[in-house]
């Protein structure tokens, strides 16, 4: 007689952190927990956590200017085998159209400008918007058990 537990959809998980880069790992740790026991490869999980890191770094740096009185807000949810991560800051926002292409020859050797590109590479979709509460909000989504995994470049 053996009875196993069933995993559950835990509903939206909301986290807010002060604007320190060290806190990025807290959100990653929590996201890892949310993905635990789900049908997602270690590989995919790795790239999701990297995208989360990039989004949070931008919110902390460009959004909140590392101002400790401003916070970054993360909402994570898994529904229909799709992970949705919303990252909101308390900053002025920006227009993603003005962001350069890091693959353009003149940008190739720049020391910055790759974060959004990595997010787009590793997630299925990245959307940018202004949050109702103010600040910039980016929404990252990723289908978890996609049969063909194409992220992370060829090897």
């Amino acid at each position: 007689m053996t009875v196993a537990e069933t995993p559950q959809d835990p509903g939206p998980v909301r986290l807010s952190l002060s604007s320190r880069f060290e806190n990025i790992e807290m959100a990653q740790h929590l996201c890892g927990k949310l993905l635990e026991g789900r049908d997602v490869s270690e590989e995919t999980k790795h790239w999701i956590l990297m995208a989360l890191r990039e989004g949070l770094a931008n919110a902390i740096k460009h959004g909140n200017g590392q101002n400790l009185s401003k916070r970054v807000h993360v909402e994570m949810r898994v529904a229909d085998d799709t992970l949705e991560i919303r990252i909101r800051d308390e900053g002025p926002g920006f227009d993603p159209k003005n962001v350069g292409d890091p693959l353009a020859p003149e940008n190739r050797l720049k020391t910055s400008g790759r974060g959004i590109f990595y997010m787009k590479t590793f997630m299925d979709d990245v959307r940018f918007g202004r949050a109702a509460a103010g600040g910039m909000e980016i929404v990252l989504t990723k289908k978890l058990n996609a049969s063909s995994e194409t992220e992370g470049g060829e090897r």
């Binding site: 320190r20 880069f21 590109f117």
Partner: protein, 112 residues
Amino acid sequence: MKTNVREVRGVSILDLKGKITIGSGDVQLRETINKLVDSGKKNILINMQDVTTIDSSGIGELVGCYTSVTNKGGKLKLLHLPPKISDVLTVTQLITVFDVYESESEAISSFA
């Protein structure tokens, strides 16, 4: 991140360990490389074997180091690139910028 510098047959080998990420390791990498360049070192090999995580800031610093070493007439090469870091360099088309080696002795010889 932890860094350790070894000198082997005229090559400064920088063993990195841990994270090269924003606020933790990114600036440190740059400072270590600058010190080597300022002390006249021209042949620099970064051993990435024990780098566990890198992000766009870390990649940016790596590119910055490459540029500043090259501008001073030196050479910066990479050793033992973990697969996921290789992926991250590949998708931003940086993998061809760096000379990457799998063997330390081969890498050292390549500077000669």
